[in-house]
Each structure stands twice: as structure tokens, then as C-alpha cells.
């Protein structure tokens, strides 16, 4: 068996002296979809932020190996160049910066870093128009500033659109389903499913079980108090929907 794409080993991290992750371990292979669920404050978004390289967190122990390299040593943009993509829980607005310009800069930085030639404006536009279909975005999106004035649902779709253009190897979706109506959820989930290949992996973090009606994970992990306390197949999500978190987190308290 080949090496995993991502290995998180005994990760301990916190912010301002408060511990959030307490020995989290996780392995993902290319071609897999993993879901992470858990109650409020269990550390889901912290994990996403640390993987993408947010510097507000203090890592006190553990390792993250991505494609055989130490991920934690890399700057955020370096991780991006190497195929790590975070779909933000709250996508950031950048007023005044045109979406096309932004995305073209992002894609070309990645291509440059990987020794590929940069795309010119024409090539880029052709690519982008193709990718917009993935999430059914209207073309005037491209002329608008990045996320500025977008509705919540549009922002989330825009994240998936960027993912389609940047073709990440490891995509982390941080509560991409939050704040979406059923119809928008369906579009986003279908987009994500279409971007799945044998060579990439998706880590899907969610607060609401209903997402897993649309995105079918290979594994479901339950995060509580900063570590994974239960892992199972997609049936685990259904069980959680019925029983809530208490039955496992209680067990966790006993075990701890």
C-alpha cells in the first residue's frame, strides 16, 4: 500500500494558552472522502485552520505529514501551491479586487511554483467559463470584487468554484454547508462530488448531518474535546442524526 496523502499524528494545539486539539490523529489516502463531525467547540474549525496554515494557533505537540513533507513548516501560500485548499467557513470579502484578477493571480502563482507556464488572459477565461458550470454560477460573478456583496450562499458557491479552478490535491471544506438552503446545498454538494478524482482527497467538516445525504464519505470521524473519539462508515452519521452526540461524548468522558 502506498503512503497516505495526509497523516496527522497526535496533534496538540491551542490558542492563547487554551488547549483545543488534544492528540488528534487522522490518516487520509488519495481518492478518499472523510467527514468530521462534532458538537460546537470540539475543534473542527481549528483543525481546518491549522492545516491551511493560520498562524493564530500554537502547536504544542504532534506532526502533520502531507505528501511525505512536514506541512506545519510551510507558509500558507506554499501549502496552497502544493495543492492544499481550504473552503472557508466564512469566506472573506476583498472589496475592490476583481474576482477574475484574484483567481488568475492565484492560479498563476500555483503554476509558477510548480514549474508550469502561466496562463494568459484568454486561456484563463476559457478555463474559468468551463469551471463555472460546476456550481452553476452566473458569469457576472467574475466581474465583481471577491466575495464583496455576495449573499451567504453565493460566497459558499464561490469557494467551490475556486476549488474547481485551482484543482487541489487536498480540499478541506469547513462547514461549506452552513447557511445554505436545500437547493443551494444540492448544487454545492454536486459540485464537490464532481471534483472528486482518484488522485485527490476531500476532508469535509460539517455541523449539520444533512450534508452527508449528498456527499457520501468513506469515513466519518466524531471529534470531541479536540480528538477523534469514534470513526465509522456513513452509517455513523445516520446514527448521530438519530441519537445526537451525547451517547458517544459521554463514553468519551468515561474513557477519559
Amino acid at each position: 500500500m502506498s503512503k497516505p496523502l495526509l497523516e496527522i499524528k497526535n496533534l496538540h494545539a491551542g490558542v492563547e494558552g487554551r488547549k483545543i486539539l488534544n492528540g488528534l490523529s487522522l490518516e487520509m489516502n488519495a481518492g478518499e472522502v472523510h467527514a468530521i463531525m462534532g458538537p460546537n467547540g470540539s475543534g473542527k474549525s481549528t483543525l481546518a485552520s491549522i492545516l491551511a496554515g493560520r498562524e493564530d494557533y500554537e502547536i504544542t505537540d504532534g506532526q502533520v505529514i502531507y505528501q511525505g513533507e512536514d506541512l506545519l513548516e510551510m507558509a500558507p501560500e506554499e501549502r496552497a501551491h502544493k495543492g492544499v485548499f481550504l473552503a472557508f467557513q466564512y469566506p472573506i470579502e476583498i472589496p475592490g479586487v476583481n474576482s477574475t484578477y484574484f483567481l488568475k493571480a492565484a492560479l498563476n502563482e500555483k503554476r509558477k511554483a510548480n514549474g508550469q507556464p502561466e496562463l494568459d488572459a484568454m486561456e484563463f477565461l476559457t478555463l474559468v467559463k468551463e469551471k463555472m458550470k460546476v456550481v452553476e454560477l452566473p458569469e457576472d460573478f467574475l466581474k465583481r470584487p471577491v466575495n464583496a456583496g455576495f449573499s451567504g450562499g453565493e460566497k459558499k458557491r464561490n469557494e467551490i468554484f475556486q476549488m474547481a479552478v485551482l484543482e487541489p490535491t487536498l480540499a478541506i471544506l469547513d462547514e461549506t454547508d452552513s447557511g445554505l438552503d436545500i437547493d443551494a446545498l444540492r448544487i454545492v454538494a454536486e459540485g464537490v462530488n464532481r471534483l472528486k478524482t482518484a488522485n485527490n482527497a476531500q476532508l469535509v467538516i460539517t455541523h449539520y448531518q444533512r450534508l452527508l445525504n449528498y456527499i457520501v464519505p468513506d469515513q466519518v470521524h466524531v471529534l470531541s474535546n479536540g480528538r477523534i473519539i469514534k470513526t465509522g462508515g456513513k452509517e455513523l452519521a445516520l446514527e448521530l442524526e438519530e441519537k445526537g452526540y451525547d451517547w458517544i461524548t459521554k463514553g468519551d468522558a468515561v474513557a477519559a
Partner: protein
Amino acid sequence: MTTTMPEVISDTDPRLTSFDRFERDAAQPKWLLNIRKSGLARFSENGFPTLLDEDWRFTNVKPIVELPFKPVTSLPVQLPAAADLVKFHFLKTSETLLVFVDGHFAPGLSRLPAAQKGVLITNLKDAITKVPELIEEKLSKLSTVDANGFTGLNTAYFEDGVFVHVAAGQSVDQPVHALFISTGRETGATSHPRNLIIVDASAQLTYLENFVSLGNAATFSNAVSEFFLGDNASVEHLKFQEQDENAFHIAGLYSDIGRDARFWSHSLALGSALSRNNIRARLNGPGLQAVLNGLYLTHHKQVADHHMFVEHAAPHCESHEYFNGILDDESRGVFHGRIFVHRVAQKTDAKQTNKNLLLSDDAKANTKPQLEIYADDVKCTHGATVGQMDEKAIFYLRARGLPLEIARRMLMHAFAGEIIDRVQHNVIREELDQIVWDRLEEKLATT
């Protein structure tokens, strides 16, 4: 329970004395009587607002205070015929319809939907017998946030209203349409519609409130609606008010919104001699969006007032308020918006605009957008305009061959369209668009 009695409210005031009948009513649950009493207490403490009250400085409610207070205590014997209702808007497209005549539920005129798992849509009186615990838990829990005598009156005197409960994950596909008819047979006839809307986590609802009149007496409708939105819930609410121009209308709209939820609340004020909407929204969970969107079209001596208080109590929330007014003759539009951003509410995105188009020299707009910000990483904007129609744009259209009336109507329609376009529900939006177009046409025909 009551502490001080302001001078305006005397012990023999019919608004206080006629309360007895609730106390005598054996069927009245104890908890409900207590809620009513607290409403009465609030009314007697606060009384009616005066122009000295900062929140009411632009709107004089004296004509309402001076009305003879005649609560309609039962469903009128002589009900309007179904044929009388046809003229009201949104009826053809509504499969679910709850009709209230002078504040009382009229089952014969209503169309309740087929039962759906996890969904209860009925009149409040019926719901009190079916789900008393839920109502005891929620009723009047939001409407106490402001010291408003009118809301107190409603809480004390309400007869009935809409009740909707959508359980977690459920979605109500058809809009729920509530039609509130003032029969308007008698000056001072007063109704207090009371609505309670509870939409749990990830559930969806479209809800339409329609206030109309049949007669043309100076009636008073004093409505209160409370909205509870759970996490990730989605609610679109449209309040459409086209009561007779002799009628008076006060409404309180209170909402409590959970994380990741979406709340659109549109208000269209076309009718009434004086209408006032008190809109209060508390943004309680991160990542939610609230859009308060309104249009007022007034003429003659009408006054349309929207008064808002939006409280950002959690980070990453968006609230947008857009209100446009088209004011003709000697009418007046009032907008008073206050956005309050708590210290914890970082990354707030709050926007507030009020635009007024004055069609006559005697029309007036009072606008007071306010921001009060205690967090340091927020994006807040506000803006207000008061102006007349762009003569250059009219000239441009005329130069392209359009007659003056069409050019004027087109510009007004575009101005109203900014608001109407924010309505999410396609069928409702299209009908609304038609209503406004017709109304503008009528306006032009008379000027």
C-alpha cells in the same frame, strides 16, 4: 403588578376596564392570563408615546389615542363572502390561507394545508389547545424587548392570529398566507392580531401577512408577530399592508435568529392614514443573515413609518436594511433605523439605506439612520437620500420617444424595483411587482 399610572391612562379607561372578560373566562389558561396581565401592565406603565419620545418624534399617534376604543370581541356574525375576498392580492396563488376577520379566525374562509410531519400551521387559539407548552415557552418572550405601549395592548387583548411551527429539517413548500381583514363598520373598531412563528433548525418557511380593509371607517389594527428561527433555518416573510386610508395600523415584528440562519423580512406599506412598523431583530448566532427590506408608497395625507432596531449579538453576521419610499401630495415617510453592534459581534457586516423620492413639494421624508458600534472589526455602512425625480433622466426617455407619463412611471418603477427584486419567492415577487406598477399607474392617472 402595575406600579405607576401615567396621567394619560385613567382607571376608567375602557382599554383597562374591558380586560375583565379575560379574567372571567374559565377557559383561559393561567399562564396565558399572566402573559396578558404583563402586557396590560406594560401598557399602563408606558401609555401611548408622544412626540417627546425620541423613538416617536416624527410620528404623532394622537389620532389613534383619540379613537373610541372598541375591541371586537367575537367573530362578526355577518362574515364577508368568499367573493368579497377575490379583490385582495396574493389570494389566487395561495394554497394555504388563514383568514382573520377583525382579529378572529374565520375557518370557513380559510384553507389549511394537508397535515405534514413535523409541521403545524393553524390559528393561535387552536394551537394553544394543541401545543400549550411550546406556546407558553415562546409567546411574548421577544415582544418585551422594548417599552412599547402598543405591544403591551396587543399582548393584553389579542384574540387570535397565526401559529406556525416547522420542526427541524422540514420545509414548507407553499407560502403560508395570512389575511387580516378589518371590516371597518365602526369608528374605533380595534383588533390585535397576534402571530407566532417558530422555525426550527435547518427548516424553511415562506410566510405572507396581508392587512386589508373592507369598509372605510377609522379602524385600528394593532398587530404583533414573533419569529423564532433555529440554527440554519430559512424564513422569508412579507408583510403587505393596504388598509383603507382612514384606518390606523401599528405592527410590532420581533425576531430571534439562530446561527447560520437566513431571515428576509419585507414590508410594503401602501394603505392606512397612519402606519407604523416597529421591527426588532436580535442576531443571536454566528454566520446568519438578516435582510429587512421595505417599500412605502404614500399619497394624500398618509404617514408611513418604519422604525428598526437591529442588534448584532454574535460575530460574522450580516444585516441589511433597505427602505425606499415614494411620497406624493402631502404624505410623509419616516425611517428610523438603528444598528447596534455588541462588542462580541466582530466581523459584522451591517448595511442600512433609506431612499426617498418626493413627487410633490409638500411631501416630506424624515430619515434617521443610526449606527452604534462597540466592536472594532466590522463593516458598517449607512446612507440616506431624499430627492425628486431626475429631470434629466426623464428628458432622456422623452427624447427617445416615450411620453412623459410613461417616463415618470418607468423611473418610479425602477426605484421601487430595487426593493421588490429582493423578494426571493418568484411568484410573490411577480405579483408584488404588478401591484406596485398598477399603483403607480393609478397615482399618475390622478395627478
